[in-house]
């Protein structure tokens, strides 16, 4: 069995601490109005940014499950 310290602990740390950096980044680009959500193109990029975070988290999730149970 692969230990917790090589599966879920790194996952939680990566998306916890990394997620903090990500959210701070999102808050800053919104507060500074460098992303302007009244513009269609910027709304698209806003969605892409959140999707990217979830995309990598899901990919890692699947890889951990494969390592543990496949």
């Amino acid at each position: 069995m692969i230990p917790f310290s090589q599966t879920w602990l790194p996952f939680i740390y990566l998306y916890g601490v990394g997620g903090l950096f990500f959210i701070i980044g999102m808050i800053i680009i919104n507060k500074s109005k460098s992303i302007d959500l009244t513009r269609k193109r910027h709304r698209y990029w806003n969605k892409v940014l959140y999707f990217g975070f979830v995309y990598f988290a899901v990919m890692h999730l699947v890889m951990i499950l494969a390592a543990l149970y496949l």
Binding site: I2, Q6, T7, V17, G25, K33, S34, R39, G52, M63
Partner: protein, 698 residues
């Protein structure tokens, strides 16, 4: 450790040589698009996102090369993918902060940003750090090239009666001459196009190797179950062993590495600056991070995973004690037939060459824009020469490329002391990137961050980093998340966290002390000996810095010395630098990106969305940078006179190679026609009779 030589057949060598001749010829062909240093370094800001996205693959993959990830894949398994899948966290700040600032502020190098945002002194320090960073990258590239070639070559050979030993140094010298020659001739357009082709070939070769490996082992299921369980996890253990652990690599690569790659990697930034617009740059980066990086992780690491599985199956085929940096070559030779092996090796070697050439191009750009041109202006000023017409520095750019190639080759010497390329690169990253990462990050995000703070954080931060290296058990261990200290190479990865915090702490303290520092310097200026006092401060700073490096004092005293050092640097910087916060943050921080766009255009941007129009073209006399469209076409594009236009050959597969930016001139009434001048034609190289597509940029 078991070392291999003479791997491969004559057929493999023939394929490798043909491949290299083809790539060099391809690069040389595109040198015709270099009409100025702007074209040489940035490719003229003209390319489509997909072309840049694929050209980044070859650069990105080879800088995190087959050799080092195969080594880690063999030693640790799927967790070799970690560094390719942790780059998204800083993308929001890159997309909507740094990327538009870099493009709209029209800076040609990162040090130039430091001068405009802070001061000339900050630019000088940034130049030194950045050159060291990129030259180090070139060195890592050469080291990897050398290590990849050693197993292919004999231990020695005879030439004209001389017995020549094939050493790492010998290989590095030969590859440096070869790489230097094609970048020196070709420039950025050559690099982009050769990288584009190599990006495809590289991915194909890597996937081919993985498929051949699975077939060799009898399918994915066999491969997967041959891997020991812990080799299957996408993560390394949280904090052990010291040579490869999750938390260290998160801070070294996921944080500092990602920020460095996106924010201060001139090679990569120059690619984004070569896209036709900010939006195209975002698309290129997204495609690269979403699809190319995970695919690259598989491509570069899979030889190591296959090697481990084969070694578990039959240790006589691949020894468990093999030198890790030779795993890729040995596995490729085992599972690929002669000829196919040659193709895979050619793809690997040329990809490494891509990385090296990209960074040589980047360092040459920094040399031209941050050393050569400022020095020429300085000497012209001294000689009293005014209004000299700007020179085309293409010749100097080419000499700079040669010089940077030589310097890069020399840095192989210290990197070769590490057990693997991966560890050498990890140490290099965690040591050199934090000062500039902090400086750029605070500069872009924090309007209050001052020139005194940036210079103090660079000098004082480096001093604290040196103390960290001298006293790792006292300073780095408390932040090491339980990682054990390896005395021969202490805290290779997690050292990045300490180094970043050290630089950031000093930056924050000096920014907070801005008003007291200003008051103190004002009082100092009333003293008639103020110049002598400041010079004395500067001399003390040098002495304190030397003492931090060499003098065997207790840590507490050295820390006090560091505090005195950075405070004196802050006083000295506040004295020398005339800083206008409003002017020097205008369009240069994330808080004024809209203003940056306005400054770029020279008037208020026209954000109304318009259509693209197809036009034929005709050359008219004139030298002004205007293009003349019909009234109706301009209405379709929602464009007004004075707006910016991008016009390109309608054939999409060219990816913007034949294109140019200009300004809408006074409209005429011939629909479907654009009038351009000879200079536009020379730059865009439009082809007679070929239709163009025009769109309003802003």
């Amino acid at each position: 450790m078991e070392s291999y030589h003479n791997i491969g057949t004559s057929l493999d060598w023939i394929i490798i040589v043909i491949y290299f001749i083809a790539v060099t010829g391809f690069g040389t062909y595109f040198s015709k698009y270099n009409r100025s240093t702007n074209d040489f370094f940035f490719g003229g800001r003209r390319f489509a996102w997909w072309l840049i996205a694929f050209s980044i693959v070859a650069t990105g993959v080879s800088s995190h090369s087959f050799v080092k990830y195969s080594a880690k894949g063999f030693e640790n398994g799927i967790s070799s993918t970690m560094t390719y899948m942790n780059d998204w966290f800083f993308v929001p700040l890159f997309f909507f902060g740094w990327l538009p600032i870099v493009i709209y502020s029209k800076i040609r190098s990162i040090p130039e940003y430091f001068e405009r945002r802070f001061s000339k002194t900050a630019r000088a320090y940034a130049t030194v750090f950045l050159l060291a960073y990129i030259i180090g990258y070139i060195g890592i590239g050469f080291l990897t090239l050398g290590k990849a070639l050693i197993p292919l070559l004999p231990e020695s050979f005879t030439l004209f009666g001389f017995d020549i030993k094939v050493t790492l140094t010998f290989i590095v010298i030969v590859t440096a001459i070869f790489t230097g020659s094609y970048i020196t001739v070709g420039g950025q357009t050559a690099v982009i196009f050769t990288d584009l082709v190599q990006g495809f070939i590289l991915l194909f070769a890597g996937v081919l190797l993985f498929v051949l490996g699975l077939s060799y082992l009898g399918g994915f299921d066999t491969f997967w179950h041959l891997l020991p369980p812990s080799w299957r996890s996408p993560f390394a253990d949280f904090n052990s062993p010291p040579s490869f652990n999750f938390v260290g690599i998160f801070w070294q690569d996921g944080v500092d590495g990602s920020v460095a790659f996106l924010f201060m990697n001139m090679g990569l930034l120059m690619r984004f600056m070569a896209t036709k617009s900010v939006d195209e740059g975002r698309k290129a980066a997204t495609f690269n991070i979403f699809f190319m990086l995970p695919l690259s992780a598989l491509v570069v690491g899979s030889a190591g995973w296959l090697g481990k599985a084969i070694s578990e199956l039959n240790p006589n085929l691949i020894s468990p004690n093999i030198k890790p940096d030779q795993v890729f070559i040995v596995v490729a030779n085992l599972i690929a037939k002669p000829g196919v092996f040659g193709f895979i090796i050619a793809a690997l070697l040329s990809a490494l060459m891509s990385t090296v050439s990209t960074f040589v191009n980047a360092t040459a750009a920094i040399y031209i824009y941050d050393i050569h041109q400022p020095l020429r202006e300085y000497f012209n000023k001294k000689k009293g020469i005014k209004d000299e017409k700007p020179k085309n520095d293409l010749g100097a750019a080419r000499y700079a490329s040669i010089m940077m190639t030589i310097l890069g080759a020399l840095t192989v010497i210290p990197f070769a002391q590490f057990p693997t390329v991966y560890e050498a690169h990890g140490f290099f990253h965690s040591t050199l990137t934090p000062p500039l990462v902090v400086a750029i990050f605070f500069g872009v995000l924090w309007k209050k961050f001052t020139p005194a703070a940036v210079v103090s954080s660079l000098i004082g931060g480096v001093a604290l980093m040196i103390l960290g290296a001298r006293f790792p058990g006292d300073l780095i261990a408390p932040l090491a998340h339980g990682t054990a200290m390896d005395p021969s190479h202490p805290f290779i990865y997690i050292g990045a966290l300490y180094n970043t915090l050290a630089c950031a702490l000093i930056g924050v303290i000096v920014t907070w002390l801005h008003n007291p520092l200003k008051n103190y310097v004002s009082k100092l200026k009333q003293n008639e000996n103020v110049k002598s006092i400041i010079i004395a401060f500067d001399i003390i700073v040098v002495l304190l810095f030397i003492s931090i490096i060499f003098v065997p004092l207790p840590l507490a005293i050295l820390l006090v010395i560091d505090v005195i050092l950075f405070l004196l640097v802050a006083v000295s910087s506040t004295y020398y630098v005339k800083y206008d916060e409003i002017k020097q943050t205008d369009g240069l921080t994330i808080w004024s990106v809209a203003r940056a766009k306005e400054l770029f255009k020279g008037s208020k941007p026209n954000e109304v969305e318009g259509d693209k129009v197809k036009v034929s073209w005709e050359v008219i006399p004139g030298t002004d940078d205007f293009m003349y469209f019909s009234q109706s076409d301009m209405e379709k594009m929602a464009a007004n006179e004075g707006d910016l236009v991008y016009i390109t050959d309608a054939r999409k597969f060219l990816g913007g190679l034949k294109s140019i930016h200009s300004v809408f001139g006074k409209p005429h009434f011939e629909d479907g026609k654009v009038y351009i001048n000879q200079e536009h034609l020379a730059s865009a190289q439009f082809v007679d009779g070929k239709i163009l597509i025009a769109e309003k940029e802003m």
